[in-house]
């Protein structure tokens, strides 16, 4: 019985993340449009885009290999599993104990690897350029993310997200400058990994600047739908990760009743909305930076993570 209950909770969590992902993207777009005094498309527009893309036929390049056709499914699967490992509204999920932050990073890394391969597969110059830029950004963002994870693990004593969230919710946290540094590093990494504005503009197809869009330029139909959905999922994943670690209020425990679960879900929705609005405000106030400045920006995250670990080393040595 307990197993069925856990399975059901995990299933609800996975479906919830999947359903909410395009909505978050729509919310960010709508808020950005309103902030620049445009009406903007409806919040539901990404759902309509996805259903349209799913109905359309797939146009494949002549020299596309099997990898090109398989990659969207692999990317989607890896991202979805990674998103399922993050506690969104309840800790103690069934999958939550089988994997931790490092596994999430590895899953996202393999998704990125296949995306970069798919970008180069057809042999267009844009695809290759996008892949090389993506890998350049990732080569800095991934170590920064790992340093952040080390800091968190040193403080909370575990890389398990459920344990970290429980620790953050307890009064044992105290004041820690390392946690603040980790938060900033994680936000910078999230911005870089999700191709948001200072690093990449998700809504443009300008040749000089695009990174993510350049890789998926050759995709169409259901393949494109899957890739769009996985990038939306990735955004939700990072928001949930930051919310679960740094704002774990309202997270339901392992054996919570229906009322607590309901509170957890509404708290999660509120967090998502707040994060979407904040992201839109941030993107509106900042200009996209040149590609050659991106290493400095992401390098700052790496530095913050490293500094957080060093400072934690000092306060932890007493």
């Amino acid at each position: 019985m307990a197993l069925i209950r856990d399975l059901a909770a995990q299933f609800v969590e996975m479906v919830l993340v999947l359903v909410l992902a395009p909505g978050l993207v729509g919310l960010v777009r709508k808020t950005k449009a309103r902030l620049t005094r445009r009406h903007g498309a409806s919040v539901l527009q990404p759902y309509r885009d996805l259903s349209r893309l799913l109905r359309k036929e797939v146009v494949l390049a002549e020299n596309a290999s099997w990898l090109f056709r398989v990659a969207p499914y692999l990317i989607f699967a890896a991202t979805w599993v990674a998103a399922a490992l993050v506690p969104t509204f309840a800790t103690g999920l069934l999958f939550g104990w089988s994997a931790d932050l490092i596994a999430i990073i590895a899953l996202l890394g393999s998704a990125r690897f296949f995306l970069a391969l798919a970008g180069m597969d057809v042999g267009t110059s844009f695809g290759g350029m996008g892949s090389s830029r993506e890998v350049m950004i990732a080569s800095l963002a991934e170590p920064a993310m790992l340093m952040t994870v080390f800091t968190l693990a040193l403080i909370a004593g575990s890389t398990q997200l459920s344990t970290i969230a429980a620790f953050m919710n307890s009064p044992a946290v105290g004041l820690s400058v390392s946690l603040g540094l980790a938060l900033f590093a994680l936000i910078i990494v999230a911005i870089a990994e999700n191709a948001r504005i200072p690093v990449d503009n998700p809504s443009t197809h300008l040749e000089l600047t695009m990174v993510h869009e350049a890789m998926v330029l050759e995709y169409s139909g259901r393949h494109l739908a899957l890739i769009e959905l996985s990038s939306a999922l990735k955004l939700v994943l990072y928001v949930s990760l930051i919310a679960c670690i740094f704002a774990p209020w309202g997270l339901a425990g392992a054996q919570a009743g229906a009322a607590v679960l309901l509170i957890g879900v509404s708290a999660y929705l509120a967090k998502l909305t707040a994060a979407g609005v904040l992201l839109a405000v941030f993107e509106t106030t900042i200009a996209k930076m040149r590609v050659f400045r991106v290493p400095q920006f992401v390098g700052a995250a790496l530095m913050l993570g490293l500094l957080g670990t060093l400072l934690r080393f000092v306060s932890g040595s007493f």
Binding site: G174, S176, L181, A300, M303, L311, S317
Partner: protein, 220 residues
Amino acid sequence: MPNLAFDMAHLLAGSLVLVSFMLLYQDRLSSLLNVYALHALVLALSVAWQANLQNAPHLYVTATLALGFKAIIIPVALRQIIERLGIHREIETVVGIGPTMLAGMALVGLSMVVMLRVTAAAAPIARQDLAFALAVVLLGLLMMVTRRNAVGQVVGFMSLENGLILAATGARGMPLVVEISVTFSILIAFIVIGIFLFRIRERFDTVDISALDQARGEQR
């Protein structure tokens, strides 16, 4: 329940190290001065917290001096100077920001290893303050080495001096050292600004005259 006194001291001293890194990261003179003002503000808060912890009223004087002189007067004066000279342009660094940051990280690691080993017998707050103070001093030195611009060097020097004050306040029962350091800091600030003004006036005159000559097309 965690130790709030220690955590707060750790937070403030750690923020000082972080702001030192922000100083290294800046590439505009005006933002450099803003970050320097922040550096002094964090120092003032840290000293005030130490005064609170140690029940040492004279440290409040140090904190007020840090706040008034370093966070307000000196940044405003430097800003006026760079505005009069029109040098908001980018700071010329000797090496790139990336290697500088890595070197800074290595220096922080070094100062922690050294200080935590050396001061094994001291109280925890004093130990960590000394470790962070050494890091801030070394970062200030690094900044002076890596900047070609005079303003950048002055700011590096002043941040170094902030690190010295942090060390002096972290060690208990050294009121004399604190007083001396405060006096010296003001003295040093005046001397530095004097030298700086002198150098800049020299440069300003020559730059000004040559620019006027070229604009008129005259030959002298």
